[in-house]
Symmetry: C2
Subunit: 465 residues, 2 copies
């Protein structure tokens, strides 16, 4: 096999897990290649986190401009070019993807596009694409193929009437109306985005709250806010009997005993993800799976020595930052740079306005675990910075051990919530107490003071409420 | 003395130190009164931090609207009503001041307006205002009278041609041109603000960099950015020979051997503060001062038992958040709720765009102390969130102990820098290492990832640069 290339590590998949793992191996001086099916950066960078944030930035600005009178600014004739909004988002994704390719070069990662398959322990083949037929001999393999959007059963994805977030990100025509199925982070962000630009949005969630993984109290405030913004929200509701027509889709929304028909120009499916596993592992390679996700041990190794997996392909929570951490930790362990560490603590974010973020246990989870907990809460209406910014919706909520003050969980809804959660993330990582946060001087006036005051509130010592 | 009221604590001054100390005493069940000369909230809330943030929010929005085309949004005829911008700022200050009065009531703090004077240990008198002649007997007194703006010697403050930030905050007419003397946080913020609305701004600093207390590298990037925005900046420059005319002020700006005359509609003095000490202490009470600031010990007690002082009146760093911490800590110690703690670690913020924030040592200070330090730096151009927001100016810089990774200082310039610094504040308080920050999963995509990547960079392990 003259064409066989030899590596210390082959990474399959160039998303947040794959590219980070490959770069880390490069930093450690290893001979490494990354094989990506589409474009460096994966779903997150090309069809997820990054391009949606670009869209949301346009939506935020458009909303702010509409409220500019509050700030002494008068604007006439505010218009938007939806195609340009979308185009900018693609541009940002393109720029970031080029950045990853640059990082590959800088860190001496060989980069191949194509579909890769593990054909044996220590052997990988490219089965599709321009490098089809290339074989790689490798000491280690890291499977990081991630996930793709789950489709609604029996509803064909046509990219016109029926979309997932992926098709929506490429769609340059603003729909007049949309039914969004699923009110997780993706569903909520698209609902906020389309509504901001004037689409009639119906957001449907099967479970009893929007953002089902978040604290109930947060979800309630968010739902109220989104409804006030004009979004129709139906929780505890199933979608049945989709009828795709030429210009619209009809669907029955079933809430308990009630059934209503809704007609919209587009249906967006945001009902979660499924593993990208098809064709990744040759039949002969008996890698253990669990509901199509790759099973790994504490060191991210599969049941087959030398074959590792990290990121969305090993199962929930399907978050880019968790994927990156896993892959880097896996590669560090693989090459003896410290011990690999599985993820137990991580933040989650939703980038609508008001933003939502959290880390650790919800109050409900603390209750279910029968923990002896206290709650500290601080509303942004009592924050000088929030009032000065005319952006005082929401609150910070911290759940602590009633005896020791150790932090079980933190939940933020409001402006910049996604940035503010970082401090609680560090606090939980370091097993800090709320008293330690309270004793840390926070700059005035900042929203981060609310993080401190919520901690103080759990001790009965908040000054500003 | 039938009119004598008896208290556990009399607080003189209702600013960030005074009101917080009084509220804390109320929380501890003490009989407490707060005497404020003007309006609850003090300079910070009425004439400083809070109203300026309201102004800066208007400026930020106006600037963003001008760039809205980038985001696919078209706006015609953007105008502003400067009087309305100023009016909103006053409204925010008024609202927050009312909030403090509400907190006084809630925490059973008796609130008096008037000028107070310590006439003996345990005795306070109101010497001016509606309550003039009221006497208070008190177990403890907390002097928290703060500071006021320093005036330029031999230059009369007329509120029209010559102002400090206080007069500027009440001035509803946008000046065509302004010379701002002093490029500390206040000078820089006003320079950014006026320039954003079209004033021709000349910012003059005697020392060799804008924001002289900040890291040199940060100040250089900021100066470049402000100059690009249109502000004329002269560092290492003295102002001499002000000539106030009917419609303008002329001043000689002397940089080394060069002298140039500049004429502007207004001169804003932002050259620091002086203690509000006049008339606060009766001559008979021999409280020890140091250059007009009240000298205190580790428990914030002056040389006279039962008389304490906290906040700006005890000297630098003259920051609202430090003042609040000091007063609360002082009151806690006073009433046996833990031990009072003097401040050694605190953040500093400047709210222009790009924002600047820091905590701990600058690189120069680390060098001067001959510390064995490392630098970790991460530019926002490499942050997905910053690029998606089209806001990728600046960087995060962390200075660490080369051996242990303990954090000596952190410096941020960029969007939301003032919020991002909180995490480093907690890290320094907890004596965390950069490795611990690096091992904490930060949400993707957020600007807070740059905080983590700078930490990783100091270890040679940043993924995205």
């Amino acid at each position: 096999m003259a064409d066989t290339l030899e590596y210390d590590l082959i990474v399959i998949g160039g998303g947040p897990a794959g590219y980070a793992g490959a770069i880390r191996a490069g930093q450690l001086g290893k001979k490494v290649a990354c094989i990506e099916l589409e474009r460096a950066g994966g779903t997150c960078l090309n069809w997820g986190c990054i391009p949606t944030k670009a869209l949301l930035k346009s939506a935020d600005l458009y909303q702010k401009i509409k409220k500019s009178e509050t700030f002494g600014i008068t604007v006439k004739d505010v218009t938007f070019d939806f195609a340009k909004v979308m185009e900018r988002s693609r541009g940002v994704a393109g720029q970031m993807a080029k950045g990853i390719e640059f990082l590959f070069k800088k860190n001496k990662v060989d980069y191949f596009t194509g579909k890769a398959r593990v054909i044996a322990a220590g052997m990988v083949e490219i089965t599709e694409g321009e490098h089809k037929g290339k074989f790689f001999k490798t000491k280690n393999t890291l499977i990081a193929t991630g996930c793709k959007m789950r489709r609604i059963p029996d509803l064909a994805l046509d990219g016109v009437r029926v979309m997932t977030s992926r098709e929506a990100l490429a769609n340059t025509k603003l729909p007049k109306s949309i039914v969004i199925v699923g009110a997780g982070a993706i569903g909520v962000e698209f609902a906020y985005f389309y509504n901001a630009f004037g689409t009639k949005v119906t957001l449907v969630e099967m479970l009893n709250q929007v953002l089902p993984v978040e604290d109930e109290e947060v979800s309630k405030v968010l739902q109220k806010s989104l409804e006030k913004q004009g979004i129709t929200i139906l929780t505890g509701t199933k979608c049945e009997n989709f009828r795709v027509g030429k210009d619209s889709v009809k669907v029955d929304l079933v809430t308990g005993d009630k059934k209503q028909e809704v007609e919209s120009e587009v249906v967006l499916s945001a009902i979660g993800v499924v593993a990208n596993i098809e064709g990744v592992i040759a039949d002969a390679v008996k890698i253990e799976l669990d509901r199509n996700y790759v099973k790994v041990g504490d060191d991210y190794q599969t049941n087959i020595k030398g074959i590792y997996a990290a990121g969305d392909i090993i199962g929930p929570p399907w978050l880019a930052h968790v994927a990156t951490f896993e892959a880097v930790s896996c590669v560090n362990g693989m090459f003896g740079h410290g011990k690999a560490k599985r993820v137990t603590k991580f933040p989650g974010c939703t980038y609508c306005q008001p933003q939502v973020s959290s880390t650790g246990l919800t109050e409900k989870a603390a209750k279910e675990k029968k923990l002896d907990y206290k709650v500290g809460k601080f509303p942004f209406t009592a924050s000088g910075k929030a009032v000065a910014s005319a952006d005082s919706e929401g609150f910070v909520k911290v759940i602590t051990d009633a005896k020791t003050g150790e932090i079980y969980g933190a939940h933020i809804i409001g402006s910049e919530a996604t940035e503010l959660i970082a401090e609680y993330g560090l606090a939980i990582e370091l097993e800090a107490t709320v008293d330690e946060i309270h004793q840390t001087i926070h700059a005035h006036p900042t929203l981060s003071e609310a993080v401190m005051e919520a901690a103080a509130a759990s001790l009965g010592e908040a000054i500003h409420i």
